[in-house]
Symmetry: C2
């Protein structure tokens, strides 16, 4: 299927060819929107793709303009000490990216390059650095909140490149992707109110982009046997709600936004205290920037110039 | 020294207090432009900092508008297979970031979390993934150029978050930073012409931003004993020229741009052939986006609203 054919299908696909994960990938790559590399889930981005990604990022930040939330961009790496306190290691070890480097001498270096030149494994002996790849945009935030919060709590908007080690040819499952999040840290009532407000606001904003979005109770992809128990608990206690959009006709819909109630998890581990002296509660509402770009391309066509005016007006106000 | 005091010093610092690496850092952090974390050289970015960084990135890309170069943004991770061919492992092993993850079972996971909870080293046994942190924005580009080039060669503008493992409290020496590059791949004459043009263009553009820039023959920070020889050769053959700007009065000036002539290094290793059938030559001219932001803050003051109109007009045309 050519990019042109898909562009038409994507604009109005009722009764037309199915858009599968494979055909969507082929069309997006053929249109030059993304440039594949040697590893699945890692793509170069064209100017046309980036114009939409930048707009989505600005749009998702601007949704919180009335809250006066502090905006912050974090780099793609995160302090290992912070990562260790997030609980990620227990829950998602298979998705993490740990940054290792070389700290040896000339002789060790000679052995390293000799191994690499012989095609042998050369990286196993590298030393872990003090850094991890960023697991979630808000993980870099909590260490900066340690201490006592004001009575109204604190609100942030954060953005970062994030990493998940899950090589896949599905475009919507990238290993390196951008995420924006609206975060509240404060007391339990404030966290609950923020969560409800953002679920409603995020859902309506996604509908206004012309996306067939719907909320869905969800759970994180916890690792292993214990993980199955954690996933069930998370669902039973309704701690995670995703907003999903169908992208591939042959796959389940894709989460483009996610609401998480952390209770006092980050408050306890990062020593953040609400004004009443209790461990702070927190909640975040995140948008997957790259997934949103792909959902928009799927539903409105591969050329953003042809998108409905109502959608363009929201993304480029 | 307060941010206000430095802002004044930075606007007109003749005969005033010296701006040291330490006082500059203190002022930038006190002004809330960057948010320090638990690891030196890794900072959260405020909206005010990002407004300048975005402008610098756009400005550096727009300098190549007349060339019609293909624009691409790469993610912060790079295929290990591509990294292995760049020569980085031989030259800069101490600066690399190798991405490792967990690929074990439930029992291995229990041992991993037990080690972490006991405060023992837990990351040494992780498995290297197929990814590295991006060593240079152009490194992700060359694998996409494999094959035969058109007679005029190819031109690109690329941008990426890059990583260098060199923890430092100097703000101008970040571990995670953004880089934009103008790249030519083609024949030796084209590479030489592109290199000369970009050195002149980049130098003049930096002067026009009101920065006391000057070009300087340079060498890369090659590792070890062999590295000292490589550095001397690089200087003798004039393969690297940096454009430097003084930022800290107590430190050498900082490279904010760098011109590199690779000869046929990437052509050979990535099987890129020029139209005449020879291994392609390449050259890149890179801007350090974060270093440029810091140089602008140092020379024009911490509040971009107060910068000279001529500078603002170039950054926000």
């Amino acid at each position: 299927m050519s990019g042109g054919a898909l562009a038409r299908v994507a604009v109005d696909d009722e009764g037309k060819d199915a858009v599968t994960a494979e055909s969507f990938r082929a069309a997006v790559l053929a249109a030059g929107l993304l440039v594949p590399g040697e590893v699945d889930g890692v793509y170069g981005r064209s100017a046309r793709y980036e114009a939409v990604a930048d707009a989505v990022e600005r749009w998702s930040f601007a949704l919180g303009d009335d809250e006066g939330a502090e905006p912050l961009r974090f780099p793609p790496v995160l302090a290992r000490a912070a990562f260790e306190r997030t609980g990620y290691l227990a829950s998602f070890p298979h998705l993490m990216g740990s940054v290792h480097s070389f700290d040896g001498d000339d002789a060790a270096h000679a052995a390293l390059t000799e191994a690499a030149e012989s095609g042998r494994a050369w990286a196993t002996g590298l030393a872990p650095t003090e850094l991890m790849l960023c697991s979630s945009a808000c993980h870099a935030l909590y260490p900066t909140c340690t201490g006592t919060l004001p009575p109204e709590g604190r609100r942030f908007r954060v953005t970062s490149w994030c990493f998940r080690h899950e090589p896949s040819t599905e475009l919507t499952r990238m290993q390196a992707f951008r995420m924006t999040e609206h975060v509240y840290v404060g007391d339990p009532e404030g966290a609950d109110a923020s969560r409800r407000r953002w679920l409603e606001r995020g859902f309506e904003a996604l509908l206004a982009l012309g996306l067939p979005a719907r909320p869905e109770a969800a759970n994180d992809p916890f690792f292993g046997r214990t993980g199955r128990f954690l996933a069930r608990t998370q669902r039973d206690e309704e701690l995670k709600v995703e907003i999903v959009v169908p992208v591939h006709d042959d796959r389940p819909p894709v989460a483009v936004a996610s609401s998480n109630l952390h209770r006092d998890h980050f408050g306890v581990t990062f020593a953040i205290t609400s004004a009443d002296g209790e461990p702070a509660h927190s909640t975040c509402f995140g948008f997957g920037v790259d997934r949103l770009v792909l959902a928009l391309l799927r539903h409105h066509g591969l050329d953003a110039a042809d998108w409905p005016t109502a959608v363009r007006d929201r993304l480029w106000p």
